[in-house]
């Protein structure tokens, strides 16, 4: 329980800091901290595979992508200055928050009565290739498309 609240506080605070800090690279670093906090939450739910995958993919890979994006931004001061999009962004994020809290309040939360999986990785693997094989394959096709697109974009000719 202590772990849950600590991690939740970590994730939420760092998520808030992403918006608050003005330095874009600091924002990315807070985002990573938030990812790590969420990974911790997964562990408290004994979803170790998901937690490790979260760290590996989000904290390790996606954030690097963001760092590259920030570093390639021409703006030299890398400032998170205010611009025209502030008002629409506020409205949009307000809507998202409302929707999420509506769902959270409305849902009939049941405590998990099963014991934790012996090995979640096996379960996930089984699930991916039997019931969810179609989304899985579609995801891989999308990734291949993205990869080919990236190669075409950077080809020098």
């Amino acid at each position: 329980m202590i772990a849950f609240w600590t991690l939740a506080a970590l994730a939420v605070t760092s998520a808030a800091m992403i918006i608050v800090v003005r330095n874009l690279l600091h924002a990315v670093l807070f985002l990573i901290l938030s990812f790590v906090g969420i990974a911790g939450l997964y562990i408290t739910m004994s979803a170790d595979f998901v937690a490790v995958a979260q760290v590996l993919i989000y904290a390790g890979a996606i954030s690097v992508l963001m760092i590259f994006a920030v570093m390639l931004t021409p703006r030299s001061d890398r400032d998170n200055a205010g611009n025209m999009l502030q008002a629409p962004a506020l409205v949009l994020s307000g809507l998202v928050i409302t929707a999420v809290s509506m769902v959270a309040v409305e849902t009939d939360w049941r405590l998990a009565d099963r014991v934790a999986f012996e090995s979640t990785a096996t379960e996930i693997g089984d699930a991916l290739v039997s019931p969810f094989v179609l989304p899985f394959e579609i995801a891989s096709v999308v990734l291949v498309v993205a990869m080919i697109g990236a190669i075409v974009l950077v080809r020098e000719d």
Partner: protein, 367 residues
């Protein structure tokens, strides 16, 4: 799709492990690729050419030590030969041979250093450098035995050399000459076919023969670009015309060729020393030259083949005890002149390798 990026201006040097001293190269980078490079020299300028005008002809010899401190012997030699030609001093036969022996030993030591640091610049973690230092160390021992100094030798004198050989010199030289070919073979085994070294230096810092000639290159730089030119053959001094040796010449003029040319030159130096030792005549080691001698009025340009290239001295005498003008054609500076053309378009890592293959010596460059 072009993304606007800021060019990055980086100062490589003057404090940088790979500039071999205090040389500065200001490069403009696009990512890792060099789009512009500017050489900034002069951080080690000690005003030697001016200072030399205030000292007697003999007192100037130590300055030549401190120019190319990795090849002090050839610095001495070039200056002494220039003064001797200016004053028409006859140098005894034995001194001529001793000069050849020491100049070639110095070439071995200097090339060992050059190749070692070159491989170091390619990223080998000190190992080849320290291997080559082993041989350099033995050469320096020989120097120490003869003239007491290891780095700034001050061994050559106007009219000969300062000391004759000590008794234990020749046996120790013999053992060094015996083991050197094996050592060179060992280094070639380690480095020459090393895939990573080939990847790093093949096709890097290519200097075309035209470019090399137009920018007045000399030494291993010129020979690496495929031009068989060597002052020892072209304008023989001492007794090089009696020696039988070959000029190694590279194929494409890249960094690797220069590295191999130096490697091969060490072999040739061993050949020369062996012949010189075999022919070494008895006799005096120095002509009688008064300490305060005054060469007749006149001027001279005299050159020798130093390990780094054509080391020339341009001296003007007004008949006084000091040179009127003392100018050095230092190969390190002139070999650097094409660096910009060689590095633009390459990555930072390549520029370092190219710089390493030039074998510059800042002491000689800035004087």
């Amino acid at each position: 799709m072009a993304i606007d990026t800021e060019p990055l201006v980086v100062n490589i040097g003057p404090q940088h492990p790979s500039t071999h001293g205090v040389f500065r190269m200001r490069v403009t980078l696009d990512g890792e690729r060099i789009t512009d490079a500017e050489m900034i020299v002069g951080y080690l300028h000690r005003s030697m050419e001016k200072l030399a005008e205030e000292r007697t002809w003999t007192q100037n010899i130590p300055f030549t030590d401190r120019m190319d401190y990795l090849a002090a012997m050839t610095g001495n030699l070039s200056y002494c030969i220039a003064v001797e030609r200016l004053a028409s001093i006859e140098v005894p036969e034995r001194a001529q041979y001793l000069r050849v022996i020491f100049a070639e030993l110095q070439r071995i030591a200097s090339h060992a250093m050059a190749n070692g640091t070159f491989v170091n610049d390619c990223g080998a973690w000190q190992t080849p450098l320290l291997y080559m230092f082993r041989e350099r160390e033995k050469v320096l021992d020989l120097f120490e035995m003869t003239c007491g100094a290891r780095l700034t030798l001050n061994y050559m004198r106007i009219g000969g050399v300062a000391f004759d050989l000590p008794d234990e010199f020749l046996p120790q030289l013999r053992s060094l000459l015996d083991e050197l070919p094996d050592r060179i073979a060992e280094y070639e085994q380690l480095l020459v076919d090393n895939e990573i070294l080939l990847m790093r230096s093949r096709g890097i810092g290519v200097l075309s023969p035209e470019m090399a000639m137009n920018s007045s290159m000399s030494g291993p730089m010129l020979r690496g670009s495929g031009i068989a030119w060597d002052v020892r053959k072209a304008d023989p001094y001492c007794v090089y015309d009696r020696m039988d040796f070959d000029i190694p010449v590279g194929h494409t003029g890249d960094s690797y060729d220069r590295f191999r040319v130096r490697m091969e030159e060490v072999r040739q130096s061993v050949r020369i020393i062996e012949q010189a030792v075999a022919q070494l005549p008895p006799g005096r080691h120095c002509a009688d030259v008064p300490l305060n001698f005054r060469p007749p009025e006149g001027e001279i340009y005299s050159r020798i083949e130093s390990p780094k290239g054509e080391l020339g001295f341009y001296l003007i005498s007004d008949g006084g005890p000091q040179p009127y003008r003392f100018h050095v054609r230092s190969p390190s500076l002139i070999n650097l002149s094409a660096l910009r053309e060689m590095v633009v378009g390459q990555t930072v890592a390549d520029a370092i390798v190219t710089l390493g293959s030039i074998d510059l010596n800042v002491g000689e460059m800035d004087r």
